[in-house]
Symmetry: D2
């Protein structure tokens, strides 16, 4: 089968691989739609190390081709998705309420996500076929009423973005700022609205993203190209600061700005994948006396999470046209990487179809 | 009356001040016992700025001398304590469940603890008399069964230490590390035990503190003088890491060590008052993908908190001999500062009696 | 001044009363708009006992006429609301996070809401003037952008309805049933949507209420006049049951139906004011082994809650035209009671203006 | 092999059964110690229906005899326990944080615990061998430092008792009442202490249980044989009521007494298995306005829970001598049932050894 492999720093190429063998707890999925994520670009650039030869991609939509003998609750031919993070269900972490951190163990040391993650520790979805481990915990059927593209954001982008709002413990009437309105930031904005925030301040400068942000839930947009967003947000909140700040870009500057706009007692919810050490300025941290929280969230996975996210889409709670700006065939995935890595042509997300 | 005043950087001196006027919502307390806190040394050294002439001290035990006309539920002559942080009860922060951060407002900007805090924004307890604002919310009667010294830790040390365990959201069966066993660290150790932690690892090197730590709740003590505590704790936990790490010293090195021993999904609960910017090393933060939380806690105050803490002492849940190592008369408080600031003679806490 | 007084069982009449004296912590409000609540009808019918001569009403909108000497943060002439439940802020209950249950004390025994509640233990809002106790904790300014009628639901109906959703701990993607779509049920429906429920099943039979329910957030309406709603809801959820059921009518039959549609692990959130003992059928309770929760919520009050609720309205999160169907002058309040008590003419809520 | 089978109402007998076949995800355990639970007596009396011929018992300690091909993390010959409730880990309920309610599904309707429970829907532990399904999620190794009898309470009694304290959301300084001090009530008392309750009021009349209760954590014992415990507890709490009441007997009278002693805002945590409809008296429920909660908890299972409970025992947090009063060989289990069903000879728990 065709698959997009990480070959070496700077190169992800389409190549041939054998169709995987199906173990007792596995399911083989024939991919119908997948996409490229910012994390894949981190892999391409060597900022996020994976083994050479690994198939990349962690956002699968497809048809069940073959089920392992122990997999229960599905039929071959059903259309399904699986989350980017595949909890086993049976690890200590899962049973302790930390399903995203499955795989931690003495053997794995402290490696986060040590267990399973498509295109990270096992072969991923940018291929004709994908092997889903612990399939009973991870496959979720897609209703006929939803298209592939409508559910393509569930496995990672939407689950991660919403988690930023959930981990921030947003309450009805909260003021929330979301720094950057890329795909994950947009979903964080939508998630903040879903949890009851009533003043959502999106920070962005790209006109197309500003427009999508307003459509999906932002009440106010602060253009960081037009001045310091910290001053602007303190002005908007009349000096009060925000209840929750969601950082969805992954830079020191946005991390620090988020700290500076937090009210005493406020929460900074980080969704970025960082590339360097972070600094917490003493004043922005109130010397440690501000009752502040800094929380990080890895994309929640598993079939129940996917079921819930698809319900959100089906219920039409907001105008969630998936932020897909481009379409490529799997054969052209190298071109898609080139486009996405350089953020050319106003790209947000690319639908890839084998 | 006599009062210990901050005069200038490096000097806290005993001087005369008028006995305060009692407003409608105030209570005047005749101090019977108080103490010096690490925060007072931060003030002395200019690391924590206060106005010149302010009376220092935020840990009062005393007798009600006079009650304002609106204060309800007390009688003059009753023995009481008041928490270091005095919530009004009527601020938006209080009514939103953030009583320690009372006083935030447009007028105060983002200053944490902007409202009231003895020896910080209003005159404190190292004096013959103390004026307690919003007294109905803040005075808590002391039962005859408890001595002044037994309850002297409630207003700050115990409330703060326990908050470290509470904010860490410790669960039954958790493994918890507490970095440093000064007065607050000791109370964090006790708090971790009270919340159900079953493997409590105290990190300390001073023999007397190690001994107190074991008596109060530590299951294992790691002597950081004998090697890298990170390696030792990872060894003890068989590579699993701790569920919660409590940082009670206030240094970059301990902050960083705490991050490095967290399990994926684990929480770092900060109790330190920091003096410089903090760095979050990228690897210790799992690039932001570890589902980790960093939380800070300011000493919870108010009469209900004080009532609960005194119940803990009265119930003899653990061998809580207050960590008082020295006694001074208020007249000798300058000597007490000299001793405490230099941590001479194995000092932990000093009882000051006017 | 004119005021609607409870005279005896079955009689609430308009009569003269002196304008109240303003104490140090009080504020006197000149009422501009108020309304009649279902609880007032319980009072009228003697099902909810109050003292004879008490002024009824607990939903005030008005202008600050006079402020007590200790009240901070307001100016005379400002337009404000106050919640039906007026927490003092300084009670043990308030400081313990249970502001609605302020007033509990040894003196009050276990009486819930023992402290303060307009038209219940102190004079209420169906009058020309209202005295608000502990005014600093309870007055919340109304922005010019919102009309009296738009904020009239905040003090009770909206705060209570949302609390049903909040106490139920609704999560993104939940299925929620709301039994009955009177004013509180409608607000519970809106609250469920605000917290992220994606399948909201409203149970109602009155066409006008069904229509409002759909506009405000219901995805599906089950007409209990057309068959057993339990069967219908189990069919809709494919036998799975609901995550949260909100009971907003106050009858044994709806309480029991809610239990019967709960999934194992589901929560029944009660908003009804009950008039008789309730029965928990053994089978519907899974003999106590279903990990179910039954929670009750008293209307959260205080200025911060009011601020947040007015934000919800100002943010236009949903099409919240206040469910006001009739207008009466205070002079005609006895007619208004007659109409409302008999639920004539499709009445939902009545605006009363002095 | 020998096994104790439910034959018909009133009869559990020892009989022969084939040793079970081991499927891919199963483990076969050679039982070394097990016990009889109150639930087994409910089964015996027909109050809790199970299929005829089922092996009873859900509290296993034993040696791994054989592992299925997919089971990971164990070796044959290891000594293990498994919780009474065996979550699969891969169900929607498990992945939604409701592991005890695994097995709910459209197919099962609303049956709680629909999936797996030893001696309930699959063969149990009162036998020479036990088949553990989804063994990777459920087996937990026992350290050599702990005896069979020390860990025998973990699978059900201790997990359930602690859950009563955990679901009640006990805070540091809480006052908690525990009604009845049978094995589960004793563990609820211990659990309340582990969560930080400082006034624990145990309600019991049997001298031996009173003694154990005091040793394990009760601060005060109320003898219900000596007067109405409601009056006594209201007196002890000076009219304030308790923060949390734990009902561990399963009767209407204790359920009702618990409601009557709750403070406004307090929680009733039910651990009883009820045999008839329950009544909530209107006054004890404050007509629904008391912000009260009624919660039920089914015994949490899975290997992580078992690991944590064994840590509690190993840490010697309290004087937990297991409440085993009698020992029987599996051959004599019918006699053991006779003794336990009639609560003769001061029996608390019986150790059964094949």
């Amino acid at each position: 089968m065709k698959a997009a492999l990480f070959v070496e720093l700077g190169r992800i190429v389409l190549d041939e691989k054998p169709v995987p063998e199906v173990g007792a707890n596995d399911a083989l999925i024939r991919i119908t739609t997948t996409t490229i994520c910012g994390t894949d670009i981190h892999i391409l650039k060597g900022e996020y190390p994976v083994e050479k030869g690994l198939t990349i991609g962690h956002e699968p939509v497809g048809i069940i081709e073959k089920l392992g003998s122990n997999v229960r609750g599905y039929k071959e031919g059903e259309r399904v998705i699986a989350g980017a993070i595949c909890p086993s269900g049976y690890s200590n972490a899962c049973l302790d309420g930390l399903a995203s951190q499955d795989g931690q163990s003495a053997a794995h040391g402290l490696k986060p996500m040590g267990g399973l993650r498509f295109g990270n520790t096992i072969d991923g979805s940018q291929a004709e076929y994908l092997l889903v481990p612990d399939a009973t915990a991870n496959l979720s059927q897609v209703t006929d009423a939803l298209t592939d593209e409508q559910v393509l954001m569930c496995p990672d982008i939407m689950s991660t973005g919403f988690a930023g709002a959930e981990s921030g413990n947003i309450k009805i009437g909260d003021t929330v700022a979301v720094f950057s309105q890329g795909p994950i930031g947009l979903c964080a904005t939508a998630g903040a609205k879903l949890r009851g925030a009533t003043t959502i301040i999106a920070v962005e400068t790209v006109p197309k993203r500003i427009e999508m942000s307003k459509r999906i839930g932002a009440d106010i947009v602060v253009d960081f190209g037009a001045g310091d967003p910290v001053d602007e947000i303190m002005h908007i909140t009349q000096g009060r600061g925000v209840d929750v700040a969601i950082e969805a870009l992954g830079l020191q500057s946005t991390f620090e700005s988020c700290l500076r706009i937090l009210k005493p007692g406020g929460t900074l919810s980080c969704l970025g994948v960082y590339s360097e050490d972070l600094t917490i300025p003493l004043d922005a941290f109130h010397t440690g006396l501000g009752d502040n929280r800094i929380v990080t969230s890895l994309c929640p996975g598993g079939k129940e999470r996917m079921r819930r996210l698809m319900n959100v889409i089906a219920s039409e709670r907001f105008d969630f046209r998936p932020p897909i700006t481009h379409h490529f065939d799997l054969e052209q995935i190298e071109d898609a990487y080139e486009l996405f890595a350089n953020q050319r042509d106003g790209v947000l997300k690319i639908a890839i179809t084998p």
